[in-house]
């Protein structure tokens, strides 16, 4: 069965807002430990696809499977809520604008969900906060509030917060797009480290160099379809489709 070999499977994903079709019959499989990058201009549907994986933007058609369980299965409302909350605990998400909880310290940001949902004790939570914040190099800021942190530091705490739920899959939605250029590297370092630990990741990004260096596979999306996909060395150096070439050319010009 495909569900067992493929860790994440998206089948015929379709999403419309009214008459506007933002995702058109998208199929994607990700194996355990794989790192998939999604590139494309804004409005291409790449963030919508990512957000569909944990049902933040529910699909209007198609199926999403995670580790053998369908994420967007049809259930009565109450049951579905329970099901989706359980699914989301297994999927970490990192946002462009961090979305840290400003009224909580770094420690509280990391421990709130595990304490509430996994009923771990204060001691366990404390150890967890130390472990996760240490991993992203933020242990020395454990009792700082988000307002006291730089953008890169905030994003690293946000990654620690997501990791504290011990997710099977991490989603990154333009995690470095809102950062000052000099702060991008510290976040990329953390993501590279996760890659080395074989965390399964789907990364929506504008940074071609980063995508090329960490991803096993890169998808180029345009107008709601996957135009082309392949290993980064092929997709970036030798794209097959004209639309991909055009996007990469424009992107290179923009970068200069």
């Amino acid at each position: 069965m495909t569900e067992q070999t493929d860790f994440v499977e998206i089948r015929h994903a379709q999403k419309s807002f009214g008459t506007l079709e933002v995702l058109k019959d998208i199929n994607l499989t990700v194996r355990r430990g794989q790192i998939v990058g999604i590139i494309g201009s804004s409005g291409s549907g790449k963030s919508t696809l990512l957000r569909a994986i944990n049902d933040l933007d529910p699909l209007t058609g198609g199926e999403i499977w995670l580790d053998g369980v369908q994420v967007n299965k049809k259930l009565p409302h109450r049951q579905y809520e329970k099901h989706i909350n359980a699914m989301r605990q297994q999927v970490g998400m990192v946002f462009q604008h961090f979305n840290l909880f400003p009224h909580m310290t770094a420690r509280e940001n990391v421990t709130m969900a595990p304490m509430l949902l996994k009923k771990i004790s204060r001691e366990e939570a404390d150890a967890l906060a130390r472990e996760q914040l240490d991993k992203v190099g933020m242990l020395n800021r454990i009792d700082y509030y988000p307002s006291q942190l730089s953008g890169g530091q905030k994003q690293r705490v946000a990654i620690a917060r997501a990791l504290a739920m011990k997710p099977k899959l991490m989603l990154f939605d333009e995690a470095t797009s809102a950062l000052d250029p000099e702060l991008v590297e510290e976040v990329n370092m953390v993501m590279k480290q996760l890659a080395e630990e074989h965390m399964t990741m789907i990364i929506v990004t504008h940074e071609m160099d980063f995508a090329a260096s960490v991803c096993d596979r890169v998808l180029f999306m345009d107008k709601g379809v996957v135009v082309e996909e392949g290993p980064p060395e092929v997709l970036f150096r030798n794209p097959a489709k004209e639309r991909t070439r055009e996007f990469l050319r424009k992107h290179l010009e923009g970068a200069k």
Binding site: R88, M93, F95, N99, L100, F101, S147, Q148, A162
Partner: protein
């Protein structure tokens, strides 16, 4: 008959007792209006239609009619249906609910103003909508709304004088009683005004402390 403040110390104990009542009623009503404001805001924003509509009517009653009338209704009116409340309890409930409706308006706006990404981040971690509201959205909304709620609480302090009409011996009624004995309205009304001012200062001080404490976590 000129002004003579030398008479004041003799009746100071009555005035101070009145002060204590005013502070007690104000603090209790303020707490009720705060907790009630959060509850009302959640009902107004998130409850099903069947609960929300009757609640709207209640809201209109509290906003659209005089507080004085509401106090009469709670104290004298409820007796007829077997609810006989002590005057100070009726006063606290009347003041508390009246200002809860005003606080609810503020808190509703603040809840809607909390960045959508906060709810999303909480849901992404696996929290239900209710958990996300309780842990993430409402605490932030309440922080944002402390300054205008502080203004409402000052208004509440001033309106606490209205409970004198249902016979609670708070500051205003205490002053009136002393005046009834001494025929010295100016001295004792001024004294009462000075005490209201001092309580006001105290409330502003508390509000500033709360604001300073939360300023870092916004």
């Amino acid at each position: 008959m000129g002004l003579d403040f030398s008479i004041v110390p003799k009746y100071m104990d009555i005035i101070l007792l009145g002060c204590a009542w005013t502070i007690g009623i104000t603090v209790a009503a303020a707490l009720l209006s705060f907790v009630g404001g959060i509850v009302f805001a959640v009902i107004a924003l998130f409850s099903p239609w069947i609960i929300r509509q009757p609640f709207r009517l209640l809201e209109w009653v509290f906003m659209g009619t005089p507080l004085l009338l509401q106090l009469f209704l709670i104290y004298f009116g409820l007796v007829q249906i077997g609810i006989d409340l002590p005057a100070f309890v009726a006063g606290i409930i009347g003041l508390g609910l009246h200002f809860a409706v005003y606080n609810s308006e503020l808190i509703q706006t603040a809840i809607l103003a909390v960045d959508k990404g906060q709810m999303e981040a909480a849901r992404t971690l696996g929290l239900s909508r209710g958990e996300a509201l309780r842990k993430v959205v409402i605490p932030q909304a309440v922080r944002d709304v402390i300054p205008p709620i502080g203004n409402n609480m000052i208004a509440l302090l001033k309106d606490s004088a209205l409970v004198s009409v249902i016979g609670v011996s708070e500051l205003t009624l205490s002053a009136q009683r002393v005046i009834g004995k001494t025929y010295r309205p100016f001295e004792f009304y001024i004294l009462a005004a000075a005490f209201y001012y001092v309580i006001n200062l105290g409330m502003e001080w508390v509000q500033r402390r709360i604001e300073r404490r939360i300023s870092i976590s916004r």
